[in-house]
C-alpha cells in the first residue's frame, strides 16, 4: 500500500466530482509542477484509505527572532513521501478586511511558488494567509522575500494572534467604528507580542463593526470588540412604508422578533422605544433602507471566548458596555495592557484569559484590571449565597479591619 499515491488516487478522484470547487483539483493542478503536492496527494489518498492522518507533532521551527508564525509539521511516512517529510506552514498576516489587489496576490503566489508547495489557505480560520507546506531551510528565504514585499508573519503559539475584522466601513453601512483601522493599528502597535510568544497562552482579538458580528468575535476571540451605538435608531418612515408595501410583514417579522418588544407599528408609523432597544440589529437588518444605527457610535468590549479545550467552551462577556473608539485608541490599549499584565503574572500555563476570569471570579478579575463592576457585565446577580465577604469586625475594633 506504500505506493498508493503512485497507483493514482481513486478515492480523492471522487472528490473532483460535483458542483462545489474541489480542493483535490487544486492539489492535483499544483502536483503537475510541484513534487511536494504530488507526495501530498499520495499521503492523503493513504489517509483516506486507512482513515488515519499521517502527520506528527511539529518541533520548534520558525524564522530567526520570531517565536510565532510557523507551524512545524512532519510526516510519519517519510520514506514513502520524502518530499513532504517536512511540511511546515507559514502564517502570513493578512491585510485588514482581507482586501487585496491582483498584484499583491500575484506577489504572494510568486514567492510561494518558488519556496513552498504553492498551496495555500485563503484564509486560515484566525484570518491569516496560510502558506501550506515547505521545508525548514525554505523558511528564512520565504520570510525575507515576504518582508521585502511588505508582508510579515502572523501569530502562533502563546502570543497575540493575528487580529482580524469584518469589512466594516469599507463596505458596510452599519459599521459603528473603523474596524480596519483599529485592527491594523493594534496589529502594528503589538508587533512584539504578535511575533514573540510571552503569554501564558494564545490571545485573539477580533473586531466586528456591529452586533451582527460578522467575524464571530464573541465566540472566537479572547477580546471581542463589537460595534454598537447609544442613541436612537434613525428611521425613515417613508422607506418603512415602502418595505411594508413590498410585502414585509412588519408586525410579525419585525415587532414579533424584537427581543425587548420595543418596536411598534400601527400600519403607518414605526415607533421605537430606544431606551429599551438592546441594539440587536434585527429590525435594521430587515429594513436596510429604512433603519440605521444611531450616530453616537462606539463598541462593546467583551472578554474571554474560546474553544472547549479543556474547561469547556466560553463566549466572551461584557467588560466595557460602551467605549468610543477613535485613534490613537489609548483607552483600549491601556485596558489591553492591564489585562495582559495581570494574566501574564497570574495566568497558569495554557490558561486563556476567559479561563483565568472564571477561575478567580469576574469580581476579582475586575479589581485586578482596575475596572469598576457594573450590572451591565452580568446577565443576573448571583443565585447562591456563598459570598466571600472580605472584612469582618473584631470585638475590639468598631470599624472594618
Amino acid at each position: 500500500m506504500a505506493d498508493s499515491g503512485k497507483n493514482g488516487t481513486p478515492m480523492l478522484d471522487e472528490l473532483e466530482k460535483g458542483p462545489w470547487p474541489s480542493f483535490v483539483t487544486q492539489i492535483k493542478d499544483m502536483a503537475k509542477k510541484n513534487k511536494m503536492c504530488e507526495d501530498l496527494l499520495g499521503l492523503l489518498e493513504r489517509s483516506y484509505d486507512e482513515k488515519l492522518g499521517h502527520w506528527k507533532h511539529g518541533g520548534i521551527v520558525g524564522v530567526m527572532g520570531y517565536g510565532g508564525g510557523v507551524i512545524g509539521r512532519y510526516s510519519d511516512l517519510q520514506e514513502d513521501f520524502p518530499n513532504i517529510a517536512h511540511f511546515h506552514t507559514l502564517r502570513v498576516n493578512m491585510p485588514s478586511g482581507w482586501f487585496y489587489t491582483s498584484d499583491a496576490l500575484r506577489t504572494i503566489c510568486d514567492i510561494w511558488e518558488r519556496h513552498g508547495s504553492g498551496l495555500t489557505n485563503m484564509h486560515g480560520s484566525t484570518g491569516d494567509i496560510i502558506l501550506l507546506g515547505t521545508t525548514t531551510d525554505e523558511l528564512e528565504p520565504t520570510f525575507a522575500e515576504l518582508t521585502a514585499n511588505d508582508f510579515d508573519l502572523g501569530g502562533s503559539g502563546s502570543d497575540m494572534r493575528t487580529p482580524s475584522c469584518c469589512v466594516g466601513p469599507a463596505r458596510c453601512e452599519w459599521a459603528c467604528f473603523d474596524t480596519l483601522h483599529l485592527t491594523n493599528d493594534l496589529t502594528q502597535t503589538f508587533q512584539d507580542e504578535l511575533h514573540r510568544p510571552a503569554f501564558p497562552y494564545k490571545f485573539k482579538i477580533k473586531c466586528s463593526g456591529c452586533p451582527n458580528d460578522c467575524v464571530a468575535s464573541v465566540a472566537r476571540a479572547d477580546m471581542s470588540i463589537i460595534g454598537t451605538w447609544r442613541d436612537q435608531i434613525r428611521i425613515n418612515q417613508a422607506e418603512v412604508r415602502a418595505a411594508a408595501d413590498a410585502g414585509l410583514d412588519i408586525q410579525r417579522d419585525i415587532c414579533g422578533n424584537c427581543p425587548t418588544k420595543c418596536i411598534e407599528w400601527d400600519g403607518k408609523k414605526l415607533e421605537i422605544d430606544d431606551e429599551n432597544c438592546v441594539k440587536c440589529m434585527h429590525c435594521i437588518n430587515a429594513m436596510p433602507k429604512a433603519l440605521k444605527p444611531g450616530v453616537d457610535r462606539g463598541a462593546t468590549i467583551l472578554l474571554g471566548s474560546k474553544a472547549p479545550i479543556v474547561e469547556g467552551a466560553l463566549l466572551s462577556s461584557v467588560i466595557v458596555p460602551f467605549m468610543k473608539l477613535e485613534p490613537p485608541y489609548e483607552e483600549l490599549k491601556d485596558l489591553i495592557e492591564r489585562i495582559w499584565d495581570f494574566w501574564g503574572e497570574h495566568g497558569k500555563n495554557r490558561e486563556r484569559t476567559g479561563e483565568l476570569m472564571q477561575r478567580i471570579g469576574l469580581g476579582n478579575f475586575l479589581e485586578a484590571i482596575e475596572v469598576e463592576p457594573i450590572p451591565e457585565m452580568i446577565a443576573h446577580p448571583r443565585e447562591n449565597p456563598y459570598v466571600f465577604y472580605e472584612e469582618y469586625f473584631e470585638e475590639e475594633d468598631e470599624e472594618e479591619e
Binding site: I27, K51, S96, F99, T101, D103, C109, G118, T120, D253
Partner: protein
C-alpha cells in the same frame, strides 16, 4: 532588496488595497440591496454604487487558481477583490454590466456564485488529514461532499434565514464549530494508546498528568521506564494529553468519526449568541464522500427550510418547537449521550413542567 533584515513590519496597510469607490465612500455607505443570488450593491450617501459578486472557494487554493482570481479582478474590477470571513472570494465592481460576464467566467473555472443574504454560505473548516496531526477526520473532503449536496442553497434556492455550517476535525475546534447552526465535529472514541518506550523521553510526565481534565492519567513505571497509565473509564477523549504529548496518540481508524451539532449562533440579531448542541453523537468516517454525514446534514437543513419562520436561525427554530419535537422530526434517537454530564449539566435538565404532551 533590503540589505538589513526586515522584521516586525506588520501586514501591508489595507488602504493600499481599497478601490477608489471605497476610498470615496468609506464609512459613508447608505444602504445595500441584494440584486440576485451572490450579488449585492452597496449605495453610498454620494449615490456611488459598489457591486459585490461573491464566489465560492474550497479555501485550499493553489497559487494558479489565485492567479486566475487576480486575472478576473483585473478584467472586471481594476484588480480589486477581497476574501470573506467564511473564505469566499468577493469581486468589487463599479460597472453593473460586468457582473454577468464575471459570473460566467467564474462558472467556467468552477466557482459558483452565491451565499449572500438568507442563504447557506461556505463552511468554515480546518486542516484535517491535509496538515494536522490531531485530526479525527478529514476537513476538506467532508466540506466538499456536503457543499456539493447543499450547493443549491448557496446559489439561490430559498431558505428562511442564514444558516452557518462549520467543521472542525478534532475537539480543539479550530473551526470554532461551538456556535454554528450546524456543526460537524471530528471525534475520537478510544482512549490514547500510550507509547511507553519513548514517553519519558518526548514528554514531561507532570504536564501529561496535569493535561487531563478528568484526572484519568496517573504516573507509573513500565519495564523500568517511567511512564503514565490510564483509567480508561475516566477518559472522554478530549485529546488534550496528546496535544501536550505525542506518545499519547488518539487517532484510531475503527473508532474515530464525526458528531453533528445544531442550533448555535454568534450574531446578536434577535436572540443572544449561543452554543451548538449535540444532535447526532456519532457517524462513522466513510471517505471519500461521507454519505452518512451528507445525508444527516441535508435532513436537518431540510427540516429547517420546511418549518422555520422567516429570519429564524436553526437554534431559534428548535427552541420554538421544542427539542422533543426536533428529535422526532429529524428521526434522531435520543440517547444518554445527548444528556450533558459535564460541569454545568444540572442547568440543562428540564426544571419546570413546561412540556408539550401531544
Amino acid at each position: 532588496m533590503a540589505t538589513e533584515r526586515l522584521t516586525d513590519i506588520g501586514p501591508p496597510n489595507y488602504e493600499k488595497f481599497l478601490p477608489p469607490v471605497i476610498k470615496d465612500n468609506y464609512g459613508k455607505w447608505d444602504y445595500h440591496e441584494i440584486i440576485k443570488p451572490g450579488v449585492m450593491v452597496h449605495v453610498g450617501e454620494s449615490g456611488d454604487k459598489l457591486y459585490t459578486v461573491r464566489a465560492s472557494s474550497p479555501r485550499l487554493l493553489g497559487v494558479d487558481r489565485i492567479r486566475d482570481f487576480a486575472d478576473l479582478a483585473d478584467k472586471y474590477c481594476d484588480g480589486f477583490l477581497r476574501f470573506t470571513s467564511r473564505n469566499n472570494v468577493e469581486f468589487l465592481l463599479t460597472d453593473e454590466s460586468k457582473i454577468d460576464p464575471l459570473i460566467k467566467d467564474l462558472d467556467k473555472i468552477g466557482h459558483p456564485v452565491g451565499g449572500i443574504g438568507n442563504a447557506i454560505s461556505n463552511i468554515v473548516h480546518t486542516q484535517g488529514w491535509v496538515h494536522c496531526h490531531s485530526a479525527a477526520t478529514d476537513a476538506s473532503g467532508i466540506v466538499k461532499a456536503v457543499m456539493d449536496d447543499l450547493c443549491g442553497y448557496f446559489t439561490g434556492q430559498e431558505v428562511p434565514g442564514k444558516l452557518r455550517i462549520a467543521l472542525a476535525c478534532c475537539l480543539n475546534m479550530c473551526g470554532a464549530v461551538h456556535c454554528s447552526d450546524i456543526a460537524i465535529l471530528g471525534i475520537h472514541r478510544r482512549p490514547p494508546k500510550i507509547v511507553h518506550d519513548n514517553l519519558n523521553k518526548v514528554c514531561e510526565i507532570p504536564n501529561v498528568i496535569a493535561s487531563c481534565p478528568t484526572a484519568a492519567i496517573r504516573p507509573t513505571t513500565v519495564e523500568g521506564k517511567s511512564s503514565v497509565d490510564l483509567e480508561e473509564d475516566l477518559c472522554m477523549f478530549c485529546g488534550n494529553c496528546f496535544t501536550v504529548c505525542p506518545s499519547m496518540p488518539m487517532a484510531d481508524p475503527l473508532n474515530d468519526g464525526v458528531s453533528i451539532w445544531v442550533g448555535g449562533k454568534v450574531s446578536n440579531a434577535r436572540s443572544e449568541p449561543r452554543f451548538s448542541k449535540l444532535a447526532i453523537p456519532f457517524l462513522p468516517n466513510t471517505p471519500p464522500r461521507w454519505p452518512e454525514v451528507v445525508e444527516s446534514v441535508r435532513n436537518i437543513v431540510e427540516i429547517w427550510v420546511k418549518h422555520a419562520r422567516k429570519y429564524e436561525r436553526m437554534g431559534e427554530f428548535i427552541e420554538r418547537i421544542g427539542w422533543p419535537r426536533f428529535f422526532k422530526m429529524a428521526g434522531i434517537e435520543f440517547q444518554k449521550e445527548h444528556i450533558d454530564d459535564f460541569k454545568h449539566a444540572g442547568l440543562t435538565y428540564k426544571r419546570s413542567t413546561h412540556l408539550r404532551h401531544q
